[in-house]
């Protein structure tokens, strides 16, 4: 059988995918908390919101891109060889994870764009604060679910 594309680099790519994923979780939680505080407590967290938005965007896009690169090896050596037959529910869980990751791309770009112009101290901008916090919550939901999913699927294996 021919080796699957990028099989040699799979461990390295998987490690960077893991690091970027952890960064996603951390930055999304920070972003949601800071934006919620900015909404209800004033604009004191404006620089932090911008920083977390940039960090989240970079980490999220990196995670999705690397996930796409390592997917063929997983598809052949894990899903085809094991999950599809022995644990089909795990395949379903993984598919949801992958599809949800793509669903979060445009909201993440929206968070990045809004964070550049949104000023929580500006009275006319405050109407946008719930939208920003909602997008942050939506993305945090995706990254925490995907992080749990990635960890849990990694625990599955022949006893």
């Amino acid at each position: 059988m021919n080796p699957v594309v990028l099989e040699d680099l799979n461990r390295l790519l998987l490690f960077i995918h893991l690091v970027a994923g952890i960064t996603c979780v951390a930055s999304s939680v920070h972003l949601l908390l800071r934006s919620a505080r900015a909404v209800w407590g004033g604009g004191t967290y404006q620089p932090q919101v911008k920083l977390h938005a940039v960090t989240l965007s970079a980490a999220y896009l990196t995670t999705v891109f690397l996930g796409g690169l390592i997917y063929p090896v997983f598809r052949v050596h894990v899903r085809l060889a094991y999950l599809d037959a022995v644990a089909p529910w795990a395949t379903g869980l993984f598919e949801i994870k992958e599809l949800m990751a793509t669903l979060g791309v445009i909201p993440v770009l929206g968070i990045l764009a809004l964070s550049r112009v949104l000023d929580f101290r500006h009275e006319e901008h405050r109407v946008y604060a719930p939208l920003f916090a909602g997008l942050a919550g939506f993305v945090m939901g995706i990254v925490t679910f995907n992080a749990w999913c990635g960890w849990y699927l990694g625990t599955l294996g022949p006893a």
Binding site: W89, G92, G134
Partner: protein
């Protein structure tokens, strides 16, 4: 139209287009990792991967809609300088979240086939004893 209003408009149009293409899931090229080849139909050998094509088509749809939205808001900003009304911002935000929520629900719904499928034991190697079929464990 203020810059922040333009961003909301572009974000909404891009998201709606993305969600529509993602939910409709039109025929797109599938990657076959064992062949290292792409096929539009299911003519490939071995496992196929539809995630790349589906994601690419939806993101392309979102990009095109976002570009149209950018041009529209740029033209509109020359004549319209009033900010969006708060009620309009709320309405557009609600439409955005409903679209995202419905798409997420569609994703979960279409994968339910995997959760009702009965697992089958792995094929046993010739030299393996009969009682060594693997068991799935989790949370260890």
């Amino acid at each position: 139209m203020r810059r922040i209003d333009s961003i909301l408009t572009i974000l909404l149009l891009a998201s709606l287009a993305f969600c529509a293409v993602y939910s409709l899931n039109p025929p797109t090229p599938r990657y076959f990792p064992l062949e290292r080849a792409w096929h539009v139909t299911a003519e490939g050998q071995g496992p196929g991967m539809g995630w790349y094509g589906r994601s690419g088509a939806a993101l392309l749809g979102g990009l095109l809609a976002g570009c149209c939205g950018y041009l529209w808001t740029a033209l509109r900003s020359r004549h319209e300088t009033r900010p969006l009304k708060p009620a309009t911002v709320w309405l557009l935000s609600a439409i955005l979240f409903v679209a995202l929520g419905l798409t997420a629900a569609k994703i979960v719904h279409e994968q339910q086939v995997w959760f009702v499928k009965s697992p089958a034991p792995l094929a046993q190697p010739a030299e393996a004893p009969a009682d060594s079929s693997p068991q799935v464990t989790g949370g260890e």
